[in-house]
């Protein structure tokens, strides 16, 4: 197999795996966080402002891990440094 095909196949497969596996953990965590926030909202509706603000900040923190995986897979798909390096080398020949 040519090296270009190996790089392309590896990047595409790893990009898919990175987003799909990276989304599992944050999805579970966000579900737990929202469920807990909802039950505490039902118990204490007076504290809704504080709970909502803390929930949003926490969700952003949790979500950022999924976003990192997405950024990695986007870089692999659209701005792959190894691919660009290989292309520039093969053009140089």
């Amino acid at each position: 197999m040519e090296p270009s095909i190996i790089i392309a196949v590896a990047s595409i497969i790893v990009a898919g795996f990175s987003t799909s596996f990276g989304a599992i953990g944050p999805a579970l965590a966000e579900g737990r966080a929202v469920a807990t926030a909802l039950s505490s909202l039902a118990q204490q509706p007076d504290a809704s402002a504080t709970i909502t603000r803390t929930l949003f900040v926490g969700l952003a923190m949790i979500e950022s891990t999924a976003i990192y995986c997405l950024v990695v897979s986007m870089i692999l798909l659209f701005a792959n440094p190894f691919w660009n390096h290989f292309i520039s080398q093969s053009v140089g020949k």
Binding site: T50, F56, A60, S64, I67, L70, V71, I75, F78
Partner: protein, 231 residues
């Protein structure tokens, strides 16, 4: 497919180039400052006031209240910084409804610049509030062993701030771009709507996190003082 508006170049002369990020950043800055200057030209203290003044007052008082709820007791001092962050990020994602526009926050350089502003502002406000010695002492707060961890957390949260905003904005426009090639008509509109929502949430989160970090940097002295008073 473009990953960021950095690669869309409008004008280039030698090393100097004006890409979409710079152009749209300046456009938003001009728009925000010109509208606020025009509105604040004729402020009235009477009961009868223009609707634009009402709009500005609502925005400013809401931001002030949010800053106060985070724990900064003097919101007037911080509203210039945190409110500007919020308005810039919110406006840059709100203008997404205009065709041909790309949010400048979808480029990593813009978000890194914003996060670096927060990175500089935290010690600035902290030193201003509690003096340089007390601020530096907060790095070795529980024990001396925590010094590297405190520094690492300072850097990593700045990085997280930048990459979070970039990832959200970039993924929004990227998903619309991908969906346009699969289902051309209806779905991209819905995703744009979702993108507007996430843009607002991200603007809120960015400014709230900045406020929380500044509050954490300025609050240390008060707990230390109360400890001294009790002991």
């Amino acid at each position: 497919m473009r990953l960021s508006p950095d690669s869309l170049i409008f004008w280039q002369h030698g090393l100097f180039k004006i890409n979409a990020t710079i152009a749209y950043t300046w456009l938003i800055m001009l728009l925000l400052s010109i509208t606020s200057i025009l509105i604040s030209f004729k402020l009235s203290k009477e009961i009868k006031r223009s609707r634009w003044q009402n709009l500005l007052e609502i925005i400013v008082s809401k931001i002030k209240k949010q800053i106060e709820e985070v724990g900064l007791s003097e919101p007037k001092k911080y509203i210039g910084f945190i409110g500007t962050l919020f308005l810039f990020v919110a406006a840059s994602s709100l203008f997404n409804i205009i065709p041909g526009y790309e949010p400048p926050t979808g480029s990593l350089s813009t978000t890194v610049a914003l996060a670096l502003c927060v990175f500089v502002a935290i010690p600035f406000f902290g030193i201003e509030e509690q003096g340089i010695n007390n601020y530096l002492k907060s790095y070795v707060q529980p024990t001396f062993i925590m010094l590297p961890f405190n520094i690492i957390s300072e850097i990593s949260r700045t990085l997280a701030l930048a990459v979070r905003l970039f990832g959200n904005m970039m993924s929004g426009s990227m998903i619309v771009g991908i969906l346009l090639s699969i289902t051309p008509l209806l779905f991209p509109i819905l995703m744009t709507l979702l993108g507007l929502l996430t843009g607002m949430v991200q603007a809120y989160i960015f400014s709230i996190l900045a406020a929380v970090y500044i509050a954490a940097a300025t609050r240390v002295r008060k707990s230390g003082q109360s400890k001294k008073v009790t002991s």
